[in-house]
Amino acid sequence: MTQTFSDTWLIVPLYNEGSVVGGVVREALPHFPNVVCVDDGSSDNSAAVANAAGARVVRHPINLGQGASLQTGLKYALEDPHAKYFVTFDSDGQHRVDDAARMVERLRTEPFDLVIGSRFLGGNVEAGFLKRLVLKTAVLFERLNTGMDLTDTHNGLRALNRHAAQSIRIKQNRMAHGSEILREISRNELRYAEEPVHIVYSDYSRAKGQSIWNSVNILSDLLFG
């Protein structure tokens, strides 16, 4: 991978990831010169670290949640008239830059509005049994909910073209935005494809990772939120 994506924005929601976000930004910048970190009212030095690493930092004055950060980042990136593609990317080092690059390439060459990362397409899964079960249940739930046939519904790595970025409105501030994005895709009849990606479950991400309890919260956000 040698090319740079000057017409693409990497949108990185950022909340208390000061210890890792610097590395994530530095790794991405050679290929994606436009990185915006949306600092969601972090109490650590996340914003300063991301800024020093060379990212644009947009700061929420108060903590709003990851969904709100994504929406803010999209809005900021859309204001750039040169921007054609938008990639949502995690700040904790779970996502790989070359996966993102491949997804943008697909948007360029194939007739899709967005490409969604999937851990289960490549068969390259490092998740335990319980996590796998929860993720598979989520897939089933989304299939019933949106009619979309996806193998991985809660993957934060997505590449969008301008049309998709403008159509999707994320209103779920907290964790349920993953499902909300899928509903928006189906509501706006966006053309989508899945791309196998590798999720790096480092000790760091495992330690802070999403607990199983979170799926209860996501479900209740969706039903009663």
């Binding site: 740079t4 000057s6 010169p33 436009n34 949306v38 644009r56 930092v57 947009v58 700061r59 929420h60 004055p61 108060i62 709003l64 709100a68 929406q71 803010t72 809005k75 900021y76 204001e79 750039d80 040169h82 209103k171 501030n173 009663f224 939120g225």
Partner: protein
């Protein structure tokens, strides 16, 4: 048909109406007017119940409840659930407003997209 048939119908109907309010959100003048009328009705009933405690007993027996106190308890439950739903809805709405406001502030204070704002690409 048990003796408590009518109170059951009334209570279940109340909760069904509350559920419908949650499922079918409506905007405009009508829901606000209905809310205010309900509030007035509630207050008038409260005054009546204080002034003429016997009435609650008669109404209670009419719908198959033993005592007026029990009827008041049931009514309280319905009002409480309705109030909880109302509070939750307005809380969500104000959260949405705060989000919009915070996003505006974030974008107003955001850095420029490129170091040189002369339209040059960083190729």
């Amino acid at each position: 048909m048990g003796s408590q048939f009518w109170i059951k119908v009334i209570l279940i109907a109340s909760f069904v109406v509350l559920t419908l309010i949650v499922v079918i959100p409506r905007r405009g003048a009508r829901p606000i007017a209905i809310r205010r009328l309900t509030m007035i009705l509630l207050l008038v009933t409260a005054v009546a119940a204080v002034a003429f405690p016997d009435w609650t007993n008669s109404v209670a027996r009419l719908v198959g409840v033993g005592r007026g106190t029990d009827l008041l308890l049931y009514a309280l439950a319905v009002v409480f659930v309705g109030h909880t739903i109302r509070a939750r809805t307005s809380q969500l709405a104000s959260e949405q407003n705060v989000t919009e406001l915070a996003r505006k502030i974030a974008l107003l204070t955001a850095p420029p997209h490129r170091d040189h704002e002369d339209g040059e690409r960083q190729d």
